[in-house]
């Protein structure tokens, strides 16, 4: 058994030992940021600024500053919401589900993937609030005792479900992320020079001392959290899909939405992880940790989920035809041939064609190509949500109120702003926190028989 394992290609290249791992990972935080980091941070910040301007103008003036109308009540706002929630799925999925399946290759990407999840969910969570006509009353979405009778909330409303789903998801993912980071925080604390850093990480690491008795329970709790997070991931996007699935509008009123949305989420999520990891790996010289195998594995997941998404598109059309319901049929014809056909075909192009390239190993292992394709997948997935929302609304039942939709600069600014927020947070994260789970990487460094001699 032992030699079997030993012939397997190691997860981490450049035969590192434990100390090297600590060294490499902590280096990212310790050394001065590279000009590349500054560049990225600058861009991210300016995007964020643009977003802030747009949002504050919108909140000060009214939703009217968006291109919406009496027929199309949602467009960019909810599109972005679903998009970001989708992105937020890979993280927890990678760490939780791959952990449960004992996929060792997760170890070097799960930390940053989880961080990405949290930041994405933060971005997502903003949209339901700013898309309100009176965002300052957003707290009415929560059931709390009051002097109004008391008047609670409507637990039958998918939006109320969203509040709980997204809230729970954010809290649990954050917990999972932080909990998994405690040992590494201790490591950082123990090698910290400055008093401040010592204090800071001292607080965060909760007095972790590597005692194996703690490790023992810690492992159990971590497994439990993973076990919880896995169904949670699935539930969250299911609930998001309910926003549409439970409605009465043809094109929304679709029972296949939950699996369809979850697959889509994972699809886009992994694409985003790839995008980020490839950048990180290049700029932070992490080639040894985020190896081509990691990239390849993720592209494989993309092929799978991409397949499911494709199937969903097909199913939708089939069901529309099969149902014999004129309104349904119209909506789908209208998607493919109507005024918003261009959006539909962008979606199809990006989500159906792109993954097919990954059938070829050469492409899977070509970092540049993978990077480009992953971005295409992200674009495609954004348009998927746009198509679902706008094309279903703009021509529904009564032709008298059919209309078109064009975004205003305020909406576009808000979209860019959300990306700004996301990257700002992520760049700050890699500077301040151990972005690779040292503990777990160390645990997969050696197997009996291959590592012993290297500990000089």
């Amino acid at each position: 058994m032992a030699n079997q394992i030993s012939v397997r290609e190691p997860q981490i290249h450049g035969n590192k030992n434990h100390a090297d791992v600590t060294q490499d990972v902590c280096n990212i935080m310790d050394r001065k940021p590279t000009w590349l980091w500054w560049l990225g941070f600058g861009l991210a910040l300016s995007a964020l600024a643009l977003g802030l301007v747009s949002v504050s103008y919108q909140i000060a003036t009214g939703i009217g500053t968006w291109g919406l109308n009496k027929t199309v009540g949602w467009a960019f706002d909810i599109t972005n919401f679903v998009f970001w929630v989708g992105i937020g799925h890979a993280g927890t999925l990678i760490s939780a589900i791959l952990f449960l399946f004992r996929q060792k290759w997760r170890t070097s990407i799960n930390r940053s993937a989880e961080a990405m999840t949290i930041f994405a969910v933060i971005c997502a969570g903003l949209f339901p609030i700013i898309h309100m006509g009176r965002p300052w009353l957003a707290y009415w979405m929560f059931p709390y005792p009051n002097f109004r009778g008391p008047l609670w909330i409507n637990f039958r409303s998918p939006l109320a479900w969203d509040v709980f789903a997204i809230g729970t998801y954010l809290i649990i993912s954050a917990t999972f992320w932080y909990f998994g980071m405690i040992p590494d925080l201790a490591t950082v604390r123990d090698r910290a020079k400055s008093k401040l850093k010592k204090f800071f990480f001292g607080v965060l690491s909760l007095g972790w001392n590597g005692s194996f008795r703690v490790w023992h329970r810690y492992e159990t709790v971590y497994a439990l959290l993973a076990g919880l997070a896995a169904p949670l991931v699935v539930s969250v996007h299911t609930v998001v899909s309910f926003d549409f699935a439970t409605s009465a509008i043809p094109g929304w009123h679709t029972t296949t939405f939950p699996p369809y949305f979850v697959a889509g989420a994972v699809f886009s999520g992994f694409a985003m992880v790839l995008t980020l990891m490839i950048i990180a790996r290049k700029t932070l010289q992490l080639e040894d940790y985020i190896t081509l195998n990691h990239i390849e594995n993720m592209t494989k997941v993309i092929i799978l989920t991409g397949g499911i998404v494709t199937l969903s598109y097909a199913t939708e059309f089939f069901m529309a035809w099969y149902s014999g319901n004129g309104y349904e049929q119209f909506v789908f014809l209208n998607r493919a041939l109507g005024p918003f056909a261009w959006a539909y075909w962008i979606m199809v192009g990006c989500n159906l064609i792109t993954p097919q390239f990954f059938w070829f190993r050469s492409i899977r292992r070509n970092v540049v190509l993978v990077f480009i394709l992953s971005i295409f997948v992200n674009i495609g997935m954004w348009f998927e949500r746009f198509v679902i929302i706008v094309t279903s609304l703009h021509r529904d039942f009564l032709p008298s109120s059919w209309s078109m939709y064009t975004p205003t600069w305020v909406e576009i600014g808000t979209l860019i702003g959300s990306f700004g927020l996301f990257f700002t947070l992520f760049l700050l994260f890699i500077r301040t926190m151990p972005m690779i789970s040292m503990g777990e990487v160390k645990s997969v460094l050696h197997y009996r028989g291959n590592g012993d001699n290297q500990n000089g």
Binding site: N17, H18, A19, T22, G149, P150, L151, W152, I153, F155, R156, W161, F164, A165, G167, T168, I171, I172, T175, F176, P183, A186, T187, R189, D190, R191, V203, L206, G207, W208, N209, G210, S211, F212, R213, V214, W215, H216, R217, Y218, E219, T220, V221, L224, L225, L228, A229, L232, S235, T238, V239, M438, G439, K442, S443, H446, R448, G451, D452, N455
Partner: protein, 168 residues
């Protein structure tokens, strides 16, 4: 309290073997300090399976109950309001929230009960034989028996598992 002996190792496999051997030699392992969760060490140290999962199951139960009953009470008892002609008790519609509440309770409950466990002290520098314990060294703390020779026995086991004793 009786004296303790601390041994340092350079990798997880030596540690595990040594611990196993020491225990076989009839010594009591106080604790081990490792930079990561060493696979199989729990067996070697003879640690029992943690019962924390039962606690979290309890929290899950509480969560789901609160979720379902809470929603039912709000929508059907406290102030029943006719919402789109749906029945007072729209159980299917209550499921998503019930589930989320369950997960929330269970997750936080588990983590907090873990923190509540006394070995974690807020903001405290860990008591550990050496700072490298969180980096690349592996330590085991053995309870020294009464016999004089015991020290040497442990020392032997340690050295043949290419580790070395640390004196405090």
């Amino acid at each position: 309290m009786d004296r303790q002996m601390v041994a340092e190792f350079r990798n997880e496999f030596d540690l595990t073997d040594a611990v196993q051997a020491v225990r076989d030699a009839g010594f009591e392992i106080v604790d081990a300090y490792t930079p990561f969760a060493v696979h199989g060490l729990d067996k070697a140290m003879g640690l029992k399976k943690s019962r924390i999962n039962q606690i979290s199951f309890l929290f899950a139960l509480i969560g789901i109950t609160v979720g379902v009953l809470g929603q039912y009470w709000v929508s059907a008892i406290n102030w029943p309001i006719n919402i789109g002609g749906r029945p007072w008790n729209s159980l299917p519609a209550f499921m998503p929230v019930a589930f989320e509440v369950m997960v929330l309770f269970c997750g936080l409950g588990t983590v907090f009960s873990f923190f509540a466990w006394r070995k974690v002290k807020y903001g405290k520098q860990g008591l550990q034989p050496n700072l490298r314990a969180t980096n690349d060294r592996f330590y085991v703390v053995v309870k020294q028996g009464q016999e004089r020779k015991s020290t040497s026995v442990v020392k032997d086991i340690v050295t043949e598992n290419n580790g070395e004793m640390v004196d405090q």
